[in-house]
Amino acid sequence: MYFVALISEIRRYEQLMSERSFNTVFIGGGTPSVLDADKLAFIVSELIKRFSVANDAEITVEVNPESITPDKLLSMRCAGVNRISIGLQSADDAVLGSIGRAHDRETFLNAFELVSKCGFNNINVDVMHGLPGQTAASYIDTLELVSSLGARHISSYALILEEGTPLYDAVRCGDIELPDEDATADMEDMGFEFLASHGYRRYEVSNFAVPGYECKHNLNYWHNGEYLGLGLNSHSAMRIGGKWARWENASALDEYIADVSSSRLPVRNMRDIEPDEELFETVMLGLRMAEGVDRAEFEKRHGTDIVTRYAPIIVELELDGMIVADETHVRLTERGMDFQNEVLVKFLDQ
């Protein structure tokens, strides 16, 4: 049912998006790799058919190590997929067990090998630090494994404990113990240093790539660019009639299916973003990147120079060693990256 609805939604947008072109496609969120080979390939080909997707577009599919098969990979590749993102989290079986993942180190090794064999060379691996039972040694071991396999891109996220998740509840009632803040920070510092010394450039807070393999799709988010989300609970941002707008898709499956099957867009919470808010979003997202906010791009979009607009804060933050502003860019220092939220709160005040 969901698959049918998703295809209908894609077709529904065909006319609406006829004037726009897309440089990247990202199929992720949840585990698209559980769909069978035909369906996955059909989604990709449907997107390419209905939308104007660039010839050299980056087309990524997120997969879990335990749910990929040669036929899935091959049909994806035939459909045009050219980048695979594998959710590993950790190569330490004890750690994987504690967060309830279905795969182990061995499964991942086989999966990576399979992806490579099927002709993908642009592979990302997601790993995490600050997981229950994880030590710095275990984390570095994971990074070592992933880099030795030749992954071109590594995302390494510090665990965020979110209310309402089973892990949050388990930690609160003491069933699971997490490494403390300092241990996680130590892990992060060591891991990021390891990645830098192994040819990976930190181009965003949590993202590392061999130069040339940065994820174009995600870079678009950080440039506060337009994107169209399709499927359950996906998010979109677009300039519509001169106004910057954001919306979400229905997050309840029955609502989503009901809307799509009665020819409605499953859109929820469509809202205009005021120019001031849009401008702050550009700062908030841009400062996540190592290169920072491009001053010329910023001025072109928002009609004001970022340094002029935020002069007192930028001066204060420069003195604190948090930020650097040069002729072309405003970017965070390494320390600024560590305290990014505090930096952004200052921008929020203005």
Binding site: I160, D182, M284, M337, D338, N341, E342
Partner: protein, 600 residues
């Protein structure tokens, strides 16, 4: 035509918290058809939300009821409801002075408590006829005989024929009405003598201004009269007199023996002080009624807006609050840590808590309050005496010849099995044992002389927890006594935080310093640098804790679906920052100032 004086009965109800005073009052009003069933809100007389929630009476209230007695005559019964807490002893005494009788309600499941006893003694001092009533006899755990036994043994009142009632179900409550008529004397007083009216409470109304709740002792008062407050000397023209029905109902006059209110376009309750005597300006009484006292604040604390921008709003709220409660004092003060605020004085700790709660609730303010302090008497080397209510204003020890603190005599009543634990608590609070008496087999009365500053913090809580809630206590103020007091300061990253300074006895400084430092470590969030927390007396550090530096404050993931949420998180972080106070280099959450009050 005024109501025949011999058919008037003025009475109050004395009871411990939860012994059923308000429920009984409700039931009496119902039985006399003073309020229709459908109008009856539980606990009619406690009109403030806080009163209903806490089950206590803060302001006095009154109600007039008409009761048809078995003798065929209809009597006017004026019930004056009194506050029920040690902080308001003076108000209670004035309310009692307005009555000829008191109904003493004793909970058949609990027996007599210290607070009840204190109020019974006040009633006896005022020559009131006391009618004991045993309440809650419907409960399985009720022991009415024991309660009667206690009344006879402890107070020395005959109680054999005390009505055994259930205010909740209404059982035997009519017997109470009959006893009020038969036992309480009709008011004395001369309707033709010059006016003397005792103010037993005053309240502020947005339309009528400050109203005096009075018991007319002699004479009469009518609208148009020019009245004089004998202690303050202020004069006003009466615009309205009325009775409590229980809502205000204007009448033509109030005469000797009656209870009612006087409205005279008075701007603030500060001008119509409880205990003052009202007389006529052109035919004044020769002397006021006895017993007037200025109610002085005993406990002081700093009150600051959580958001500095709300200073004006706080000022306005305090202005309005004292329209209704003249016993609160306040004056502007500044703190390096908290900015602009007020040093406020209260009758006691409960009074302080209630005022804070009313400010936050009725005026929608977020407040930061500093630790409560008593007034210390500081004798300087040159003999000058200074009264210090704010620890930050304490002169340097080098200039001080001696310091004195206010003492109280505390009376504690408890079942004997808790005596040991309570004595330990009193000792810990620097109490000096004075007396222990067995009132009966199951009840001991302990008397201690204690520093007021030890009971304003958590003494009451400590007493309750060490006696499983069975002990009760009451205190009366005593003299100032010399004491070895020191100022305990707290330094955050090397800077003294004035709002945390407190005056303590030297023997307790170490323990307190360590406890507060530990607490601060818990409540101050990690920041970009390490924060040493130090407790110090003079220049000497007596305790130290460290808040380790924050290492990272960054959201790891931020993709298309996270942007709106991420922005909201930042907004929230910004709001949190607003609630922080800057102490030197350190940001301290507003709650920290209050959480250090609650340490064990």
């Amino acid at each position: 035509m005024s109501f025949p004086r011999e058919l008037i009965r003025n009475f109050c109800i004395i009871a411990h918290i939860d012994h059923g005073k308000s429920t009984l009052a409700d039931r009496l009003m119902q039985l006399t058809d003073t309020v229709a069933e459908r109008e009856l809100e539980a606990q009619m007389l406690d009109s403030m939300d806080i009163e209903r929630e806490r089950g206590i009476t803060i302001k006095s209230a009154a109600v007039r009821m008409f009761y048809r007695h078995a003798d065929g005559k209809t009597y006017m019964l004026n019930l004056i409801d009194t506050p029920g807490h040690v902080d308001f002893t003076y108000e209670v005494s004035r309310a009692l002075a307005a009555c000829e009788g008191a109904v003493l309600v004793v909970d058949a499941t609990q027996g007599i408590e210290a607070q009840t006893l204190a109020n019974v003694y006040l009633a006896l001092d005022n020559d009131l006829e006391i009618i004991p009533v045993i309440n809650k006899v419907d409960l399985a755990s009720a022991d009415a005989d024991n309660a009667i036994h206690e009344i006879e043994d402890i107070i020395g009142l005959p109680a054999e024929d005390a009505p055994r009632i259930s205010a909740k179900t209404g059982l035997n409550v009519d017997e109470v009405l009959a006893r009020i008529v038969s036992d309480v004397p009709a008011p004395a007083g001369d309707p033709d003598a010059p006016l003397k009216a005792l103010i037993f409470d005053s309240i502020y109304d947005n339309y009528k201004g400050a109203l005096s709740y009075v018991r007319v002792v002699d004479g009469a008062v009518r609208p148009g009269d020019r009245i004089r407050f004998m202690h303050s000397g202020n004069e006003f023209d009466v615009t309205e007199v009325g009775v409590f029905n229980p809502r205000w109902q204007p009448v033509e006059e109030l005469t000797a023996g009656e209870v009612g209110y006087i409205s005279a376009s008075i701007k603030s309750v500060a001008e119509t002080k409880v205990g003052d005597t009202i007389t006529l300006a052109n035919d004044p009484a020769s002397e006021p009624l006895h017993g007037y006292k200025q109610a002085n604040p005993m406990v002081f604390c700093g009150i600051y807006p959580a958001d500095g921008a709300d200073y004006e709003a706080l000022k306005e709220a305090l202005d309005k609050l004292i329209l209704n409660d003249a016993s609160i004092s306040y004056e502007p003060e500044t703190s390096q840590a908290l900015g602009y605020g007020f040093r406020c004085g209260f009758l006691g700790l409960l009074h302080m808590e209630i005022a804070e709660e009313r400010l936050e609730r009725e005026f929608d303010l977020d407040l930061v309050t500093t630790a409560p302090s008593v007034i210390y008497r500081v004798v300087m080397n040159d003999g000058e005496v200074r009264m210090i209510d704010n620890p930050s204003n304490l002169p340097s020890p080098m200039e001080i010849s001696k310091m004195e603190e206010p003492m109280v005599t505390a009376h504690i009543m408890t079942p004997p099995e808790y005596v040991g634990a309570i004595m330990e608590l009193c000792q810990d609070k620097r109490g000096i044992f004075e007396n222990m008496a067995y009132l009966e087999e199951t009840r001991v009365k302990l008397t201690y002389r204690m520093p007021l500053n030890e009971i304003i913090f958590d003494f009451f809580d400590g007493l309750k927890s060490r006696s499983r809630g069975y002990a009760s206590f009451d205190y009366e103020l005593g003299e100032y006594e010399e004491s070895d007091l020191v100022k305990l300061d707290f330094l955050l990253n090397g800077d003294i935080c004035d709002a945390l300074s407190t005056i303590v006895h030297r023997d307790k400084a170490y323990g307190k310093g360590r406890a507060v430092a530990e607490k601060l470590k818990e409540v101050i969030p990690r920041q970009q640098f390490e924060i040493p927390i130090q407790a110090a007396i003079g220049g000497k550090i007596i305790a130290r804790e460290t808040v380790r530096a924050l290492r990272k404050d960054v959201l790891a993931k931020c993709y298309g679906g996270d942007i709106t949420r991420k922005k909201k998180l930042l907004e929230k972080q910004k709001e949190g920052k607003k609630r922080m106070r800057q102490v030197g280099t350190v940001a301290v959450p507003s709650d920290a100032f209050m959480s250090v009050l609650r340490i064990n």
